[in-house]
């Protein structure tokens, strides 16, 4: 090869790099595959994996059973080692998956058009807000206290860095549409509301959408998409844009990512959507085929005039969701959502009956709810962890005033036995015991 190139050594090919820039690579030596895997296995073994354990953490990431057929498909290397489908003739598999995914998301959200995926729900919220800002020519985004703090914090970063304003409307467990309406004015481009919200409560979405529209703003609905199997979908309650995290659809917890950013919009906003969109067309012989389309929105065509800078998205996670939604299907998905709700409602009744504990509100919920705890939620969690139960989400991490509130999530993986054990453990918790646990736990929180 060197002879064909006409240089004596590989080193000569690097001659354009100035000598004084040439350096070393101060990293460890190479390892065999076996040694590498052993090293990585040792790191994995240091983590408490939740498989088979009682765990009640949700707050944006949910532990669901993943049918074996999902990894059987996502593990096919024809899917996972392909690039973005820029050459449609060699990418019909991925492209048809995107088309089917877009169709399923449109069905679930009750909206007209979905894109091929985004990184996560947090950046999905920011993209939805960009749509609202561009569509209205206004520069303030209104959001509410019930928005998942992961999403709220990312939104805050983007709006601040991009020079837009954020109006944060406080919320106690569930929104009062009249109060929200009073807080909106004609500077507001979009109102972002999550339902079920951080606390688990179902929000009065139709009234909130009306409030946003009365102010001339877009309504952006954020949801756990599994809940849309049983709750009125964003399109039916008047949302202009729907955003969600598709992780519950066959994607492992994997310490926070990769997950799946879902975004869908009404037809009039299709050309404002970020990222890739697949469309059906025909080939030279009139056969149905699929291509990436409406690309005049995208960075590789429009550069600085693109609707977003997104390039690589989360296609493999969209594939997982597409397979999952196909398996569960029209009947299975509502049945699953209902089962999770039944577990949560059973748990809520039992926990509310424990002296010192109470539900934070009587707002309706699906599979997640907030309880008031007799001692700080952080102490409750530590007490549970000592008994090998992973507790809930401590709201004190969001707002110190809420340190006595715990958000608990339930899925089909939580058996009645686990829930009963949780209840009996909470019953055994006395304030003094918790303090003792706190003192002896020490060290890393």
């Amino acid at each position: 090869m060197l002879r064909a190139i006409g240089v004596p050594s590989v080193e000569d090919l690097f001659a354009n790099i100035p000598e004084h820039l040439r350096g070393t690579l101060p990293i460890p030596d190479a390892l065999s595959e076996m040694e590498t895997l052993q090293l990585v296995q040792a790191l994995a073994a240091e983590n408490l994996n939740l498989a088979g354990r009682p765990a009640f953490l949700g707050a944006g990431a949910y532990r669901h059973y993943i049918p074996a057929a999902v990894p059987a498909i996502t593990g096919r290397s024809e899917f996972y080692t392909a690039y973005t489908p820029y050459q449609p003739e060699l990418s019909q598999g991925t492209l048809q998956v995107i088309y089917e995914y877009q169709s399923m998301i449109a069905e679930l959200t009750g909206l007209d058009v979905a894109n091929a995926s985004l990184y996560d729900a947090a950046t999905g919220v920011t993209e939805a807000c960009t749509i609202a800002i561009n569509a209205t020519g206004r520069s303030t985004i209104a959001t509410v206290g019930g928005l998942n703090p992961q999403y709220a914090r990312v939104l805050r970063t983007y709006l601040h860095q991009e020079g837009f304003n954020l109006l944060e409307i406080p919320e106690e467990w569930v929104l009062d549409p009249e109060q929200v309406a009073a807080a909106l004015d004609e500077s507001v481009a979009g109102l972002v509301v999550q339902s079920p919200n951080l606390f688990g409560s179902i929000e009065p979405m139709a009234d909130l959408a009306a409030a946003a529209h009365d102010a001339g703003a877009l309504f952006i609905a954020v949801s756990n998409p599994l809940s849309l199997a049983i709750l009125a979908p964003p399109g039916d309650v008047g949302a202009d844009v729907a955003v969600g995290c598709g992780q519950p659809f066959g994607i492992p917890l994997q310490y926070g990512g990769p997950y799946l950013g879902i975004i869908a919009a009404r037809a009039g906003l299709a050309r404002q959507l970020p990222g890739r969109i697949c469309g059906a067309t025909v080939d030279g012989e009139g056969r149905r085929g699929y291509v990436l389309t409406l690309q005049a929105r995208e960075q590789h065509i429009r550069r600085e005039k693109a609707t977003s800078n997104i390039c690589t998205n989360h296609q493999l996670m969209a594939l997982a969701a597409t397979v999952y939604l196909s398996l569960l299907g029209k009947q299975g998905l509502p049945e699953l959502a209902t089962l999770c709700a039944q577990k949560a409602h059973y748990a809520a009744r039992r926990i509310a009956a424990i002296p010192g504990f109470a539900l934070a509100s009587d707002a309706p919920f699906v599979n997640e709810f907030t309880v008031r705890t007799p001692v700080p939620a952080a102490e409750v969690n530590r007490y549970l962890l000592r008994r090998e139960i992973i507790g809930g989400f401590d709201l004190g991490r969001v707002d110190p005033a809420l340190q006595n509130y715990l958000v608990l999530a339930f899925t089909e993986l939580n058996t009645r036995q686990q829930i009963d054990d949780l209840v009996s453990t909470l019953e055994s918790l006395q304030p003094e015991v918790a303090v003792e646990a706190l003192q002896s736990a020490g060290g890393v929180a």
């Binding site: 790099i17 994995a44 003739e89 088309y99 992961q150 977003s308 296609q315 398996l327 009947q331």
Partner: protein, 487 residues
């Protein structure tokens, strides 16, 4: 070969999944949730069995070309082989089944892996601190620009211009626009490098940053990068490194030593996390010490009692995505870097550069090479001669499919007419490269003698050329149930 839509398969009532019987009281939905909040009609999802699902998606997978099935020389995309051990590592239950909000004491292995990856990437790129949060290269660019803007604001400066070469990736200008900066484009000189005299004229007290890829998108090393850094720094701006092309220089040179202040790396390019048909990727961002206070939170630090998620960074730009990044991709990249080690990564760059130059040497008599070599990891050729004969770059790309190869990147960079951008990567052996060269040479012959066969390609793909104009003009973006579709 076409495959029906999943919605067109199956039958009413068919399911691909069984649920456990409720072990708690099976309360009716309407008793748990007020009717006004409930969905009135179910979403029209498929009604199929597990075998239906497996066959359908297996058929679809067979309509894809992938790196596991063959050579995929997409320029600027670094389509190298993805070692299977990465997949085993990422699916270990200790990584797969951990919740992002678990107590830190229960995820020490995950945090240690992230901490060590931050350190490894720092050593590879020559940077002092890394955030692993960004989910992709473009996300890293935006994060980097936010960091630069926050730093400049902290010094009381309001600089609103970002300079990028006309050969830059489309994400650079798009990220600049999202960061509400004005894009200033600098041209390319006769040697395919940034026009440094023009750069000198363009910098001012409005310059926030120069975004540069090195080697650039023509596959050429910007030898004057230090002079560019001096020009930009003297004007008060910062240097941003787009790491899409890092595969060319590992063990040879580091962006941190070239004068860059901020870099992003594409773990899905250089560090073998699979592309997934369009993601997920990961785009960690590294900075020099003076920018560390502005990194997104949390970053992973080592404390006395173990590894922690540090949220307390007073000047942080805030979070840029939920949780801590695409953790499972971080596991794959960490596995790759540890296995390859110092020697392996240096060899990667040497072999990638050797392969690109070999392709160039064996093709430049038939396809114009607009700029002098040697090249780094990729080569951009022009099909101008073939276009005059009646076969454009697009036709050549499609014709390659008939020879069993994926097409190279075409019509990019925009500065080269009829561009064919070829990146072979280090994981292809000489036999594969020779077969590709023979195909390219045969197509050049066809273009001269029988351009119709090139223009009509592909002849053997699952579909022939698709009507993209129709797709854009009459958007059909989703399936609709029969009753709606006919309404």
């Amino acid at each position: 070969m076409t495959e029906p839509l999943i919605f067109e398969l199956g039958a009413p009532g068919r399911k691909g999944y069984t649920l456990p019987a409720p072990d708690v009281p099976a309360e009716p939905l309407e008793e748990m949730i007020p009717a006004r909040y409930l969905r009135r009609t179910p979403a029209n999802l498929p009604e199929v069995s597990e075998p239906d699902v497996i066959r359908h998606f297996t058929h679809l997978s067979q309509m894809n070309y992938s790196i596991d099935s063959g050579f995929y020389p997409l320029g600027s995309c670094t389509m190298k082989y993805n070692p299977k051990v990465n997949e085993v590592a990422a699916s270990l239950p200790g990584f797969r089944d951990i919740h992002p909000l678990q107590p830190e004491s229960t995820v020490q292995g995950a945090l240690r892996l992230m901490y060590e990856l931050q350190e490894l990437l720092g050593a590879i790129a020559g940077m002092d601190a890394f955030t692993l949060q960004p989910a992709a290269g473009a996300h890293g660019e935006l994060t980097g620009l936010f960091i630069i803007q926050a730093y400049l604001r902290s010094k009381g400066e309001h600089r609103d211009e970002v300079i990028a070469p006309n050969s830059s990736h489309g994400t650079n200008p798009a990220s600049a626009a999202m960061a509400r900066a004005k894009l200033v484009t600098v041209g390319t000189d006769a040697r395919g490098r940034v026009d440094i005299e023009e750069l000198r004229r363009l910098v001012s007290d409005r310059t926030a940053a120069l975004m540069l890829t090195n080697p650039n998108t023509l596959g050429l090393f910007e030898e004057d990068v230090e002079e560019m850094a001096r020009i930009v720094h003297e004007a008060g701006g910062l240097m941003y490194y787009d790491g899409a092309n890092l595969n060319a220089i590992m063990g040879k040179a580091r962006p941190g030593d070239m004068g860059f202040d901020v870099v992003h790396l594409n773990l899905h390019k250089t560090f073998t996390t699979p592309h997934g048909g369009g993601g997920p990727g990961a785009g960690p961002v590294g900075v020099k010490e003076f920018l560390r206070p502005f990194l997104p939170v949390p970053i992973v630090e080592r404390a006395d009692a173990g590894y922690i998620l540090q949220e307390d960074l007073p000047q942080t730009i805030g979070k840029v995505r939920s949780f801590y990044g695409n953790f499972a991709m971080l596991v794959r990249a960490y596995t790759y870097i540890r296995e390859m080690g110092r020697q392996g990564l240096t060899q990667v760059s040497e072999d990638a550069v050797l392969a690109a130059n070999y392709l160039r040497a064996r093709l430049q008599d038939l396809y114009e090479a607009p700029f002098p070599g040697p090249n780094m990891h990729e080569v951009v050729l022009s099909a101008r001669r073939q276009k005059a004969q009646g076969a454009r770059a697009l036709d050549i790309a499609k014709r390659l499919m008939d020879y069993g190869f994926h097409a190279p990147t075409i019509y990019f960079p925009l500065t080269v007419e009829e561009a064919l951008m070829i990146e072979p990567t280090e994981t292809e052996n000489k036999g594969t490269l020779d077969a590709f060269i023979e195909a390219m040479r045969a197509i050049a012959g066809e273009a001269a003698e029988n351009p119709e066969i090139v223009r009509g390609a592909p002849h053997d793909a699952p579909v022939s050329r698709l009507d993209e104009a129709r797709a854009a003009r009459q958007p059909d973006l989703r399936w609709r149930p029969a009753e709606e579709a006919s309404a």
